[in-house]
Symmetry: C2
DNA sequence: GTTGGTGCAAATAGTTTGCACAGTT
DNA sequence: AACTGTGCAAACTATTTGCACCAAC
């Protein structure tokens, strides 16, 4: 996701209006590193703007997604989760604690996969999603009774 | 998924019972190449066994998943889809027609990704899921007005 | 003033569960 | 006979929509 200012510009250019709720949502997502669900974003926004509704959060997330400012992750079967980092990167999902995390510096792999799909499979690749499902470092340490 | 006979054996060994409905579900999945949803399986089973209920299909799919005989794909936000091929392979999702397809001979890539996660990210990888989202060959041909 | 946004409440859709009866072992 | 499976209906949960009022432009 671009800076709040740029997103505001983008909204205006598209004929969309800027409200205090939307600014709050933009700002929150800007900082978010935990891949929040719509409900998560809503709960967080409530703290600062107790009058905001879930519907508003939901609709704004939709728009941001459609504008390509955030990406929707669907690995979690129960709820969609959002990532303000739209660059292609691998996600890890811990089966123990449910944490969804980013795996940076995975460009090489992502490019390989993309190439593979385009060249070998004759598929017009728009997006690549890679998920590693397993146990994160934290949970592994706990399992062995070690401190972090 | 293993052969129907082997799955039957596995069920019996686990103290689970074999019914005509379950045999029908096993057989159907054996042949399925279209990554059916629970509803898809149900509709198909109905043709041969009009008395079968959705609940039965649903519960049997759960068991098969838990036994590791089929894998649950969650890319499709609206419904879970099931793949009797539990080997790791890349899936493609066409944004146009919604088709979810397998990409075979992707072992090299899958192994690379797995290695990357384990070695570079210190993440205990249990499963890898890779999705390519874009436009399939069929829809691309149509777009250009070409025959298949 | 026009147009789009907000927020409530209700509709929708897939998933999941409780329970009485039936079938498998 | 004991125990699991089946199938109906209902509960649940996240998502999505209709609509009246409000706010940005």
């Amino acid at each position: 996701m671009q800076s709040v200012d740029k997103v505001v510009e983008k909204f205006k250019k598209s004929g969309l209006k800027i409200t205090s709720q939307r600014i709050a949502i933009f700002s929150l997502l800007q900082e978010a590193r935990n891949h929040p669900s719509a409900e998560d974003v809503y709960q967080e926004i409530l703290k600062a703007y107790p009058t905001t509704s879930f519907t508003t959060v939901y609709k704004t997330l939709q728009i941001l997604r459609d504008l390509g400012e955030i990406q929707e992750l669907t690995l979690d079967k129960t709820r969609a989760r959002y990532d303000p980092d739209v660059s292609e990167h691998i996600h890890t999902l811990c089966e123990h604690c449910g944490a969804l995390a980013d795996l940076h510096w995975s460009d090489f792999i992502m490019n390989n996969v993309r190439f593979y799909g385009s060249e070998k499979a004759n598929f017009e690749v728009h997006r690549v999603q890679i998920y590693l499902i397993g146990i994160c470092r934290k949970c592994r340490m706990k399992k062995w009774g070690l401190q972090e």
